[in-house]
C-alpha cells in the first residue's frame, strides 16, 4: 500500500505534536507537591524535601498531606528534628476543632475541594512516626505518649480492629520493661502475640518476663514459640542472657502505602486500595555473616482498611448532599451550584510516602562497629538486587539497645 507524501507528512507531524504535547504537559503541569512525591520514590530525598518545603507556606486544603509527606521525607533522610516538626504540624491540624461556620462551608463543598483532615489511619501512623522519632532522640517518656496516642487513634471499623497496631504495643512493651513495669510490658507483648502470632520477638520478650517471675514451664513454652517463628534464632538458642552482648533492632519501612480510589459501586465514596510493591522481606548480614531476616509487625494497608471511618464518611456525605440540595434552592445559587460546589466525587487523596509495612529484625550481637547489608527478596524469595542496601559503621554497644530505622526503595543507594 502506498501513501501520498502529504498523508505521510500529516501523520508524522500529528504523532509528533500529540506525543510532544503529552510529554510537555506531563513535565510542566505538575505541582511542587507532585514533584516532591515523585522525587521521593526516585530516592532523591533532598530534592523531594526542596519541593515539599515549597508547599509548607500554602495553608490550603491539602496542608495536612503536605506536612505528612514532608515529615516522611525528613524522617527518611535522618533529620528527625524537622520530621518531628512536620508531623506535629500535621497532627495538630488534624486535631483542630473546626468552627461551626467552617463546618458549614466545608459541607457545601465537594470532597475534593474540602480541607483534608486525615483518615483515622493517618493519625495512627503520624503518632507511630512521632513515637519512633522520640525513641531515636532518647525521649522515652514522649515515645510512650505517642505510641499510646497511636493506639487511641486506632478506632477500628469493628471492635476487634481497635488498638491493634502491633508496632505501638511492641515498643510500649520495650519502654515498660526499661522502666521496670513488667506487668504492663507483659500485657503489651501479649497483645502483639494475639494480633500477630507470627512475629517472633514478642514471644521471646514474653518468655523472658515470665522467666523472671520463675514460671519456668510457661516460659519454656513461650520460648518454643519464638524458636518456631524465628528460623535464624537471632536472639539465641536459649533465654540465658549474655550481658556482654549488645542489642540491635532494625525497623524497616517497607514498600508503598495504600492509595485511595473511588468505590466502583458507590462512586461518591473512596476505598483503600493496596499499592503493589516487589520487596517482601530483607535478610540482614553484619560484616559478612547472615544474622537473620526481618519479620512483618504491621501491615499499613490492613490498618488503613480496618481503621474505620466509613461511618464518618457516610455521615459527612449525607450532610454534604443535604447541604448542596438546600443550596440549589437558593435563588441565584441554584443554576450555578454544580459549578460552584463541585460534584459528589470521592476524595481520593492519601498520604503518598507512607510505607506498605513495618518490619523488624532484632539480634543480640557482640559490641563493635559493623557494616550492615540488607538483601531484599520478593514473594518468590528471589533477590531484588536493585533494592540492596549497605550501611557502614553501625554501632552495637554492650548493655545499650540500638535502633536503626531504614526504608526500602529501588535505587536508594544509586549515588
Amino acid at each position: 500500500m502506498h501513501y501520498s507524501k502529504g498523508l505521510k507528512a500529516f501523520f508524522f507531524w500529528f504523532l509528533l505534536l500529540t506525543f510532544g504535547t503529552v510529554f510537555l504537559l506531563g513535565c510542566a503541569g505538575k505541582s511542587a507537591f507532585q514533584k516532591g512525591q515523585e522525587e521521593y520514590y526516585k530516592a532523591d530525598f533532598e530534592k523531594s524535601i526542596e519541593y515539599f518545603e515549597k508547599t509548607k507556606t500554602k495553608k490550603d486544603k491539602n496542608y495536612v498531606l503536605y506536612m505528612l509527606d514532608l515529615g516522611t521525607a525528613y524522617f527518611t533522610i535522618g533529620d528527625y528534628y524537622e520530621a518531628q516538626n512536620a508531623y506535629l504540624a500535621g497532627v495538630q491540624t488534624m486535631e483542630k476543632d473546626v468552627s461551626e461556620l467552617e463546618t458549614a462551608v466545608q459541607l457545601a463543598k465537594s470532597d475534593r475541594k474540602k480541607t483534608y483532615t486525615g483518615d483515622p489511619h493517618d493519625m495512627v501512623m503520624a503518632h507511630i512516626y512521632l513515637g519512633l522519632l522520640s525513641m531515636e532522640l532518647g525521649d522515652i517518656e514522649a515515645a510512650e505518649i505517642e505510641f499510646k496516642k497511636a493506639l487511641e487513634s486506632d478506632r477500628g471499623k469493628e471492635e476487634k480492629y481497635e488498638g491493634d497496631v502491633c508496632l505501638a504495643h511492641y515498643f510500649l512493651g520495650q519502654i515498660y520493661k526499661e522502666k521496670g513495669e513488667l506487668d504492663n510490658a507483659k500485657v503489651a507483648f501479649r497483645n502483639v502475640t494475639e494480633y500477630n502470632p507470627d512475629f517472633p520477638y514478642a514471644w521471646y520478650e514474653l518468655a523472658d518476663i515470665v522467666r523472671e517471675e520463675h514460671l519456668f514451664e510457661e516460659s519454656e513454652k513461650l520460648f518454643q514459640n519464638y524458636l518456631e517463628k524465628d528460623k535464624y534464632r537471632s536472639l539465641g538458642q536459649s533465654l540465658e542472657h549474655d550481658d556482654n552482648l549488645g542489642d540491635l533492632t532494625v525497623v524497616l519501612c517497607l514498600g508503598k502505602g495504600p492509595m485511595k480510589k473511588a468505590d466502583p459501586f458507590l462512586g461518591a465514596f473512596s476505598r483503600v486500595t493496596p499499592t503493589k510493591y516487589k520487596e517482601k522481606r530483607a535478610e540482614i548480614s553484619l560484616s559478612e555473616g547472615i544474622l537473620g531476616t526481618t519479620y512483618q509487625i504491621d501491615d499499613v494497608t490492613f490498618q488503613a482498611k480496618t481503621s474505620g471511618g466509613f461511618g464518618g464518611q457516610l455521615a459527612r456525605k449525607t450532610a454534604q448532599v443535604v447541604t448542596q440540595e438546600a443550596l440549589k434552592q437558593v435563588p441565584g445559587v441554584g443554576l450555578f451550584s454544580g459549578l460552584l460546589l463541585g460534584g459528589s466525587g470521592a476524595d481520593v487523596r492519601y498520604w503518598y510516602t507512607l510505607p506498605g509495612e513495618f518490619q523488624i529484625f532484632r539480634g543480640f550481637i557482640a559490641p563493635g562497629n559493623y557494616n550492615l547489608e540488607l538483601k531484599f527478596y520478593d514473594e518468590k524469595d528471589k533477590e531484588l538486587k536493585g533494592y540492596r542496601q549497605v550501611w557502614y559503621y553501625i554501632s552495637v554497644r554492650k548493655g545499650q539497645p540500638s535502633i536503626l530505622i531504614l526504608r526500602s526503595m529501588l535505587g536508594l543507594q544509586k549515588t
Binding site: Y3, K8, F11, F12, L15, F19, K42, I77, G78, D79, Y80, Y81, E82, Q84, L133, E136, L137, G138, S285, S287, E288, N369, N371, L372, E373, K385, G386, Y387, R388, Q389, V390, W391, Y392, Y393, I394, S395, R397, L404, I405, L406, L410, G411, L412, Q413, K414, T415
Partner: protein, 142 residues
C-alpha cells in the same frame, strides 16, 4: 516513512524510557567500609584522638567521661569539661548539648568535617553519617 516505522520508533523510545526509570539498577556498594576518620557519639570515641576544636578528629559530644578519657590519653590536660564546652560555643559550633537529631541539616550545618558549624551526632543509616565518619564526601552542602 511507513506509519509502522514511526510506531516502532515510539515503542522503542517508550521502552528505553521505562527501563531507564525502573528496575535496571544493581547496587554494587562494597561491604568493606573506609576506615573511621572522625569518631562521634554513635561510633564511640576512638582512644587517643584529640577534640575537633583542638585540631583533632574526635567529634564526640563533650562530657565529663570523655574529658577523663582525654586526660588518660594525655590530651587537653590543661582543660576541664566546662572549658571544652565553652570553646565549642565560642567557635559557634553546636553539639548534642544544644540539639539532637538534625543529621547536620540544621541552620548550623553541614557537619564541621564538611566545613559547617554543626557537630551534632549524625544519624546512623544515612549517607551523611557515612561521609562524616569516613571523611569521604564529594561536595560540601553549603
Amino acid at each position: 516513512m511507513p506509519i509502522f516505522l514511526i510506531f516502532l520508533l515510539l515503542v522503542i523510545t517508550s521502552v528505553i524510557f521505562y527501563c531507564s526509570t525502573t528496575g535496571t539498577f544493581i547496587n554494587t556498594k562494597s561491604i568493606h567500609a573506609p576506615p573511621i576518620q572522625y569518631c562521634n557519639d554513635a561510633t564511640g570515641h576512638i582512644p587517643g584522638s584529640k577534640p575537633w576544636i583542638l585540631g583533632g578528629t574526635c567529634c564526640c559530644t563533650p562530657s565529663a567521661e570523655l574529658m577523663e578519657q582525654y586526660h588518660k590519653d594525655g590530651i587537653a590536660l590543661d582543660l576541664t569539661y566546662e572549658d571544652l564546652v565553652r570553646m565549642y560555643r565560642e567557635a559557634g559550633i553546636t553539639t548534642d548539648l544544644d540539639h539532637k537529631g538534625c543529621n547536620n541539616m540544621c541552620d548550623h550545618g553541614p557537619h564541621v568535617v564538611k566545613g559547617g558549624k554543626c557537630m551534632c551526632t549524625p544519624t546512623p543509616g544515612t549517607k551523611n553519617f557515612e561521609e562524616v565518619v569516613s571523611g569521604v564526601f564529594e561536595t560540601v552542602d553549603k
